[in-house]
Symmetry: C2
Subunit: 340 residues, 2 copies
């Protein structure tokens, strides 16, 4: 697949561009004072030849390591890894390498990783976590951006999924289908992903004078709880009787998938009798569900990309402060939209 790389030397670039090797170095490292035309000519020559500068030499001349740390505390990686991959994707475009450091929710290990990244003289660090609950900031002498799990310090730069916008889109979608008897099923009651989404749904329905049916139900993030919650919502309803709801909004695709299974077990048709929505657009849940789930894609790769952009800006001396919301996307499928 590959020829042995590294055969193109700085002198080759210099020869093609008609300049000295030190001018090549200045042009590619953005140092020294060169005419823009010269800089452009060198870059063109470097690109044409596929020149890859020696990263260690580049690092010593520019006083930057062109390396960023990606610190994850998520053992499963279900949410943080798409963020990490999105960030890595954005960094590659900027010729930045990504050092991966996974702490698996272990503070001692995290501390070790932080020290190691500092010792490596990374230019900055992106910190991701396994929930959207705020986390303690790390103390390091370089820029940090928090992605998915925001920092508890409002002066830090954080990028989090806009769950309020996501669940508001779900609420408007259900209203547009004429559904007005909506129940809400969350995951763990102590987590922002459960409570924020509940508040957003209730507020969106309230704008049209609609109140949620019953209290919000909180439990755990599992299909099992999704099935149980359906039993709580339906009570001792028998087939043929009027249903207490015409829609159930679940706070995750796992919950919604369990919910669909239980509704089918009990002879309730989705979406004809009860529309169902999930959250996460997790393909193996949302697409395998019967019917496939209408859900919210938090676009975690874009969130990771945005975190990388903010970090690169901070490294360039333009730090951001506060929490930025990353936009989600409603994905409509058969669990609300009829035959699919």
């Amino acid at each position: 697949m590959a020829e042995t790389p590294g055969v193109v030397r700085i002198t080759d670039v210099a020869a093609l561009a008609g300049v000295s090797p030190s001018t090549v170095s200045k042009a590619l490292n953005d140092t020294g004072s060169l005419r823009p035309a010269t800089r452009a000519r060198v870059r063109e020559a470097a690109e044409r030849l596929g020149f890859v500068p020696d990263a260690q030499a580049r690092s010593l001349s520019a006083r930057r390591s062109f390396t960023v740390g990606l610190l994850s505390t998520d053992s499963a990686g279900r949410f943080s890894l798409p963020v990490v991959l999105g960030a890595e994707n954005a960094l590659v475009g900027g010729q930045i390498s990504a050092l991966l450091a996974t702490a698996r929710h272990d503070p001692v290990r995290e501390q070790h990783h932080v020290r190691s990244l500092v010792a490596r003289r990374v230019d900055g660090i992106i910190v991701t976590g396994r929930t959207t609950d705020p986390r303690r900031p790390i103390q390091v002498p370089m820029p940090v951006v928090y992605a998915y799990s925001p920092s508890q310090d409002p002066q830090d730069a954080s990028v989090v999924p806009d769950d309020t916008a996501g669940m508001a889109a779900v609420g408007r979608h259900l209203l547009s289908l004429g559904r007005t008897r909506v129940a809400y099923v969350g995951g763990r009651a102590d987590q922002a992903a459960s409570t924020l989404r509940h508040a957003a749904l209730a507020a969106t329905l309230a704008e049209r004078g609609v109140t949620l049916v019953g209290e919000p139900l909180f439990g755990e993030w599992s299909e099992r709880w999704g099935r149980l919650a359906v039993d709580l919502v339906l009570g001792d309803h028998s087939p043929g009787e009027p249903l207490p709801v015409d829609a159930i909004a679940f706070a995750s695709d796992q919950l919604a998938r369990g919910g669909c299974d239980r509704l089918r077990d009990r002879g309730v048709r989705v979406p004809q009798d009860v529309a169902v929505t999930g959250y996460d657009d997790w393909d193996v849940m949302a697409l395998a569900s019967r019917p496939p789930l209408t859900t919210v894609d938090p676009q975690l790769d874009r969130l990771g990309q945005r975190a990388a952009e903010l970090l690169l800006a901070a490294i360039d001396g333009r730090p951001a402060h506060g929490t930025e919301l990353s936009p989600p996307r409603l994905v409509v499928r058969g669990s609300t939209a009829g035959d699919t």
Copy 2:
């Protein structure tokens, strides 16, 4: 959570150990000729103070970067990321940092990543992929170990999951339960994960004179295909009639989960009438399935750790050649074992 790291200097370690800073450097970098007792005293002092050597300086003095590249070509990451995390885990123990490079099944991007890792002077590279099918080797001037996806070159070092052992364990388990009318459902027919597992199951049953029921069924890696395959196995069987099989071995948990759903839809009891097995021990599938799946855990984190060990040995001048099989583990749950 953290004090600002990096405050302990090499002179602090030297003072505590009662030696010169250059002796500290030699002791920690394993260079020069020191008495073992001196080396031990320096290491103890460094550990006590939590001294983290400047990685760039360490790198220049030792002519090693103490950095390894983790090259993944898997866009979803379902299989390669556990491998990557296992490798990263093992590397951290050896004070090695991991540069993450994800190519998303794009050869041009992979080539860019390979050049970039070479330019970074990584000490070695672990290459992972999204299937167990052999892949083309990369050409680089440092050691490489292939994990999960083996190299097509038998002289390279590869670590792959031992699918033959995994499916043989399934076969023996089914025989131990007295099941002898076993059907096999694979994923894509052109992939080793489908064909190797079929061959292993057939061979294991044959040792006891048992033949698989019907031809192996191949399709796609989805729950949908798992459901369809059950219809193909059962044919126009009606509840109450004798069943053509007493077990179905699926080549993945997704397939098995779809299979369980369809068996239940058709009034067939799992495991009383038909035992079901999956493969992968993918928690969100295996545990959410009704009943939970007996399956094979390929222990991908251990596979990644082993790849890291082989790479570190190769960096130390002890390269391995050929393909090493990483052992799986049978996990017994309700889909074969009765009430769970």
